[in-house]
């Protein structure tokens, strides 16, 4: 796996496509001569220790292929620089270490595998180490040929810097930004970006670090709440963000009195006026009146209606999610071919057993339920989470939801996958969301709009701006990727919202009304729960007992998993013409929730489809887009235009189009993470599958029957 990865890096004519390991690779390849075995260090990066004549190898059934080189450990990553000439077989691997964020664990190979968790290494060192990265890459190194002293040092160094807990200040992000000046830092790396400045600016991400950003977002959704800036010095509560939005009816007294506990924070407004709010914690019993006050405040936002959704009741716990993800992850941390084919046998059962996809489905379903409330019943929704961690989950959700409804985003089921992917990092290390150098962001899969979703999520994180330092944000893609690579982020099929904004806006509303007037809604959904101030207590009781989903259960519900209301909501939506800029709902049925192959399988050599995979479609689309653009330019020369909302009109899709089209046949399904060396190869043929299949051969007597029909005479 690794050698193919690396060699592709060395040989590829288009190095940018292999740049996904880290940006340094791009640079190193552009450097023809390399004398000392050092990776190009980033500003602020320091080499802690290194060892030469380390063998990096891959293991498959028959052979061990390997390459010698130097293994280095810096304050940012573990890096391997091959001894061989760059043009030949230059293998460089970089693993980012960020206080354990990317190095998940180290295994040590002696006689048996041994999991290194940190802290238990004294003077010993193993002959082989296997590194499992958080992005699911697996690296194997042999220290047998290295000098004992070096081997010991590098091993202990890696263990120390990857696995042992360190203070936040040791994170590389801090060293990095101390040594770069933002935003000029981008300019320093002249190799990295050469796009015209206006493109840069246009893409700039709203960071939600100013009152204007918040106001702007509220205006965008036509919300009507108030921005709170009283917490800019974390005076109200260190747990709350510096800026947030609350319903207008929340008074200053409310803010200060309970240190921000139970404050409903605005996330998004539906065009009908109802809003989506979240609150971090359910107030304790003695604070009942706070809760009522807050509920009332939320209800006042629109039509005096509110529904609460307690996530801690209805969604899996953080522990469940983590447990499930840990199981799930193991399916992709594959050491060798045999292991791969063995696990292939039990693939589907394993998937079900780990429950990961089910968790994803549950979360999606919850999201759809809330959307239903907003969209169909025009009720304000207040989402509650029990603890701080859950609030992270909430943030995730509610920043995701707007985008489901938000006209700016093309829906793709992957959005949700990505959202959920992010649950886990959130759970494990909440504090470190803003590292500038996620080597391969989860969102890297090109052309999925997920990017944008994550984007707003991360930006919203309360920790973003806590330190005095201005860390680079991950959204400055130019720090990591050159323009060509960035082009892969865009979906060529995305159609922009038609320009005539106002007319489109209008056309949404009738649709919305039509939905309300569906004859079914009277039957299916309970009457709108409206209430007034004096009814607050009463409502509180109801809310305390009943959850949203239970209210909606209809008598014919046959499946305990998906409430029939959600199904009907989905089906009703499904029968209407698809509007990419309107409401988009995910399908929740079993077959629709799939593993996100592009992310999870990209490093596994055995599952690469050479010449296939989604990139084949992508390149075809890009090719046609390129032609369309060319034709449009030609038309422009004649001075007339053919209106098209296609993103194809954008000039920047062009580069990706050309590149991808040129080489489509030669790309593998793991593109752009791995590029294939050449076309001819041995097909992957499952090993040891026959025996195991024999065992599974159920239908025992059937299998033993005369096959192929037996004698025709014997038939009736």
């Amino acid at each position: 796996m690794l050698s193919s990865l690396g060699s592709a890096a060395g040989k590829s004519a288009k190095p940018s496509f292999v740049s996904y390991v880290t940006p340094e690779e791009i640079k190193s390849e552009k450097e023809p001569s390399r004398k000392e075995k050092h990776p190009d260090l980033l500003p602020g990066e320091v080499v802690f220790c290194s060892a030469s004549t380390v063998l990096k190898y891959t293991q498959d059934d028959l052979s061990q292929r390997g390459v010698f080189g130097a293994l280095l450990c810096t304050n940012f990553r573990v890096s391997f620089v091959s001894d061989e000439a760059p043009t030949e077989e230059m293998v460089r691997t970089a693993v980012t270490l960020n206080n354990g964020q990317f190095d998940r664990s180290l295994h040590r190979y002696e006689d048996k595998k041994k999991l290194i968790t940190g802290g238990l290494v004294k003077n010993k060192y193993p002959s082989k180490i296997i590194i499992h990265c958080k992005d699911l890459r697996v690296f194997q190194f042999s220290l047998t040929f290295a000098k004992e002293e070096d081997a010991k040092k590098i091993f202990q160094g890696i263990v120390h810097h990857c696995l042992e807990p360190k203070s936040l200040r040791c994170l590389f992000a801090f060293s990095y930004c101390e040594n770069t000046s933002y935003p000029e830092g981008i300019g320093n790396d002249s190799t990295l970006c050469f796009s015209p400045p206006e493109v840069q600016r246009k893409k700039q991400t709203v960071m939600f670090d100013s009152v204007e950003d918040w106001t702007q977002d509220m205006k965008r959704t036509k919300g009507n709440c108030r921005v709170v800036s009283e917490n800019s010095n974390f005076e109200l509560s260190p747990k709350l963000p510096q800026l947030f939005i609350v319903p207008t009816n929340v008074s200053d007294e409310d803010l200060t009195k309970y240190q921000g506990k139970g404050l409903p924070m605005w996330c998004w407004s539906h065009h009908s006026g109802c809003g989506l709010f979240k609150t971090a914690s359910i107030p304790l019993v003695q604070e009942d009146n706070v809760f009522c006050r807050m509920l009332t405040a939320v209800a006042h936002n629109h039509l005096y209606s509110v529904k609460t959704e307690d996530l801690s009741d209805t969604l899996p716990t953080v522990q469940d999610i983590q447990l499930s993800y840990n199981k799930f992850k193991q399916f992709f941390l594959i050491d060798n071919t045999t292991e791969f084919w063995m696990s292939d046998m039990k693939w589907f059962s394993s998937l079900d057993n780990c429950g990961w996809l089910d968790i994803i489905r549950q979360c999606l379903q919850k999201a759809v339920e809330v959307v239903e409330c907003l969209e169909k019943e025009n009720t304000n929704v207040l989402i509650m989470g029990k603890d701080q961690l859950f609030e992270e989950g909430c943030i995730l959700f509610d920043k995701g939801w707007p985008h489901i409804l938000c006209p700016d985003i093309l829906f793709d089921i992957y959005i949700f996958f990505t959202l959920l992917e992010n649950v886990c990092p959130t759970m494990t290390l909440v504090t470190e969301v803003n590292s500038p150098y996620q080597p391969v962001p989860y969102t890297l899969y090109p052309h999925t709009p997920s990017l944008t979703v994550c984007l707003s999520w991360q930006a919203e994180s309360p920790y973003t701006q806590r330190g005095p330092l201005n860390c680079l944000t991950v959204w400055d893609w130019s720090v990591q990727f050159d323009c060509k690579a960035q082009d892969l982020f865009t979906n060529p099929l995305y159609t922009e919202k038609p320009k005539q904004d106002t007319s489109v806006r209008k056309s949404y509303r009738p649709k919305h009304l039509r939905q309300l007037s569906l004859p079914s809604s009277a039957f299916k959904t309970p009457p709108k729960k409206g209430f007034f101030k004096d009814e607050a207590d009463n409502l509180k009781k109801i809310l305390g007992v009943k959850r949203l989903s239970r209210w909606m259960l209809s008598p014919s519900s046959d499946s305990p998993q998906t409430s029939s209301s959600v199904r009907e909501f989905y089906e009703a939506w499904q029968t209407k013409p698809l509007d990419y800029h309107g409401l988009l709902l995910p399908c929740l049925d079993g077959p629709s929730i799939r593993v996100w192959m592009q992310r999870y399988l990209r490093w596994i050599h055995d599952v690469q489809i050479l010449g296939g995979g989604p990139v084949a479609v992508l390149s075809k689309i890009s090719e046609i887009l390129g032609e369309v653009q060319e034709l449009q330019r030609e038309l422009d020369r004649y001075g007339c235009t053919l209106t098209s909302n296609h993103k194809g009109a954008r000039p920047r899709a062009k580069t990706a189009a050309v590149i991808a089209a040129r080489s489509s046949v030669r790309l593998s399904s793991s593109f752009p993470f791995v590029t294939s060396r050449n076309w001819s190869f041995k097909p992957a043929i499952p090993t040891s599958l026959l025996q195991s299949l024999m065992v599974t051969g159920m239908a025992g007597n059937l299998a033993n029957r005369e096959d192929d029909g037996g004698d025709p005479e014997s038939l009736v």
Binding site: S520, S556, I621, L635, L642, P686, G709
Partner: protein, 641 residues
């Protein structure tokens, strides 16, 4: 120009997997009553318009016509045989609907106008595996239930009042559903549609062998079977080694089961390595030898100068191959056949496959247990067998391509697993078969002419649903093709709709293409003159079946990845009756729009160039036509593909 929206759902489908002789087919009265009650309740609360909920199957030609009345659309040659009013369809997805049930000699047609949009259920009689009735006392007087178990993964249920004055619709249905059991002709012989293209001309064996570079010095196109006298399940033309003496050939014929001697299926254009297919040798318990057969294989090996080996892939499980020895069958012994390497591909037999699909139906219809979806699919083993087949075919293709070695494939009779494997391997090796026409040739050649027993495996027009001869081998093959299509979305000229249409007409009996077991039978029944070919229909509107992503991969060999991680249940076929499974984002649609836009732009540019060259006059007049096809607002959401 209007945009091709492919709004035409394919005519309906089905498959014989009705091998459950022991279990009660219709379920108990209790179950029926419960279902009726549940459906009654849910129909009151649910009013989701279910216009296309059940994949209505309009006849091929007039798919765009919208039915507004309860008039039954008929294809030429179709006639209404019985009509029953006030029939309740117990829709598992949208609840109870009441309407009119019509039986023609081709289809069952149910239409209800009680909802906002007409509800239509259309089932080709050919797709029906069995009909069951049951009386349901609890739901009013004389109510009867009818279950129509289909070969295409659905089982619609109806309830209706018994009416003495009307002929029992079930009887009429049964009569026309199983024409062969009632001395009636199959509907293909009554179908009178005329197409501009003649599909029977798609496959010309001489032309196909010529394309492969045959005959050559080592291989000859033999007419020895021109009257099917040597082997009644082989085609009239077969390709055999040139240097075989007639007497020797007779011995080989006698030594191979059902006289299916090794014949050439495909030859590699460069290495001259070949795929040869046959049936098992009649070795028997005493390990009989046949010198001529041994020499015959040696000749096949010698025809390929690149390799001094011949690899035999026996598709069966090795244990079963051993069992076959006791029944006078068996396999080639490596010690008698020099330089021969024998591999077993360990693929279970037709009964196992039938059982697997039956289980799959239980998993996907009518409802889906989403929490245990993956394990439920896993337990059917369906994808495991798909993987086995793909693995086998990849091994064959790899042997030819990288090993430059000729391969012989057989199972027992050489018409089921053998056909699956050779055709899949050819699909991987030869890009011609990945085109729309080429795939038709592949089916005509490897499947139809080489005697895959379609009639027996599908059970066309035969009421004996429990016949153990039935098995979904062709479905399995098409599923494999779909899996390849998914892994290489740009490598095939045809699209998913094409594959689904093929499967639907495997059952429909509308076309003569898949009727009967062998070429000999088809000639005897004059299929080519008395019926229409499916390819006539397909090739009359090829744009509907064309993959917009198609890129000619030229001579690339495609190795699909036979890992379960990359295999997926074909929900577009197996779960298509479930309205929720309809695709949300028709990427094909988007691309078609893009192609349309490109064509439009090209037209415009050309127009402008012409104008510019002729005169500098009326430039602006041409810009009025600014249709914006890329706006997806009005496009139908739920096309089948």
């Amino acid at each position: 120009p209007s945009l091709p929206h492919s709004s035409r759902p394919p005519p309906s489908p089905c498959l014989p997997h009705s091998s459950r002789p022991s279990s009660s087919p219709t379920g108990s009265h209790v179950e029926w009553c419960k279902q009726l009650i549940a459906a009654t309740i849910s129909s009151q609360i649910s009013s989701v318009p279910a216009d296309t909920a059940s994949g209505d199957c309009k006849p091929p030609r007039d798919g765009t016509k919208q039915v507004q009345t309860d008039e039954v659309p008929l294809v030429p040659g179709e006639a209404i045989k019985a009509v029953a009013k006030d029939v309740m369809y117990i829709c598992p997805f949208t609840g109870l609907v009441t309407g009119t049930l019509t039986s023609t000699n081709y289809k069952l047609y149910f239409i209800s106008l009680e909802r906002d949009t007409p509800f239509i259920l259309d089932v080709n009689l050919g797709a029906i595996s069995r009909l069951e009735t049951i009386s349901v006392q609890s739901h009013g007087e004389n109510t009867r239930g009818m279950e129509i178990v289909c070969k295409d993964m659905r089982s619609p249920r109806f309830a209706y009042k018994e009416d003495a004055s009307q002929p029992e619709i079930v009887e009429v249905l049964a009569k026309h559903t199983f024409p062969l059991s009632n001395d009636l002709p199959l509907f293909a012989f009554l179908y009178k549609e005329e197409f501009p293209v003649d599909g029977w001309k798609v496959y010309d064996p001489m032309a196909e062998y010529k394309r492969q570079g045959l005959p050559n010095e080592s291989w000859t196109i033999s007419k020895m079977n021109s009257n099917y006298e040597v082997c009644d399940t082989y085609p009239a033309l077969v390709v055999i080694p040139t240097s075989i003496e007639d007497d020797d050939l007779k011995r080989v014929v006698a030594f191979r089961a059902r006289h299916r001697i090794p014949v050439l299926s495909w030859i590699h254009p460069e290495s001259q390595a070949t795929i040869v297919r046959s049936s098992q040798p009649l070795v028997g318990p005493s390990d009989r030898r046949c010198k001529e057969d041994e020499r015959y294989l040696q000749t096949i090996m010698d025809a390929n100068a690149q390799s001094h080996k011949l690899t035999i892939f026996d598709a069966r499980q090795s244990s079963m191959a051993d069992n076959n020895k006791a029944k006078d069958g068996g396999y080639e012994s490596e010690s008698f056949y020099p330089n021969v390497e024998l591999n077993f591909l360990e693929i279970p037999n037709i009964h196992v496959m039938r059982e697997s699909l039956r289980k799959l139906k239980e998993v996907v219809y009518p409802s889906i247990d989403e929490a245990h979806w993956h394990s439920a699919v896993d337990q059917t083993h369906w994808l495991e067998y798909i993987r086995l087949l793909l693995t086998g075919a990849v091994r064959i293709a790899d042997k030819l391509e990288s090993g430059k070695t000729s391969v012989m494939v057989h199972c027992s009779d050489g018409w089921d697993r053998t056909t699956q494997l050779t055709s899949l391997a050819m699909l991987m090796l030869d890009s011609h078969y990945r085109t729309l026409r080429g795939f038709q040739v592949l089916l005509e050649k490897e499947w139809i002419s080489f005697g895959h027993k379609f009639a027996a495996r599908v059970g066309h027009g035969d009421e004996n649903h429990a016949n153990s001869e039935r098995s979904p081998l062709f479905i399995q093959f098409i599923d494999c093709v779909w899996q390849m299509n998914r892994q290489f979305p740009a490598a095939f000229e045809f699209n998913e709709l094409f594959l689904i249409t093929i499967l639907d007409h495997l059952y429909s009996c509308l076309f003569g293409t898949f009727l009967y077991d062998s070429e000999q039978e088809r000639v005897a029944k004059e299929v080519q003159t008395k019926t229409v070919s499916l390819w006539s229909y397909i090739n009359s509107q090829p744009e509907d079946f064309t993959n917009p992503f198609y890129v000619d991969y030229e001579h690339h060999v495609l190795y699909p990845l036979a890992s379960v991680r990359h295999l997926e249940l074909w929900t577009g076929y197996y779960v298509r009756w479930n309205p929720r499974m309809r695709p949300q984002m028709p990427v094909h649609q988007n691309l078609k729009e893009l192609l349309f836009l490109r064509a439009e732009l090209q037209r415009k540019v050309e127009e402008l160039e012409r104008e510019a060259s002729s005169s500098r006059g009326s430039l602006s007049s041409s810009s009025e036509h600014t249709s914006s096809p890329s706006h997806s607002g009005g496009t139908p959401l739920h096309t089948i593909v």
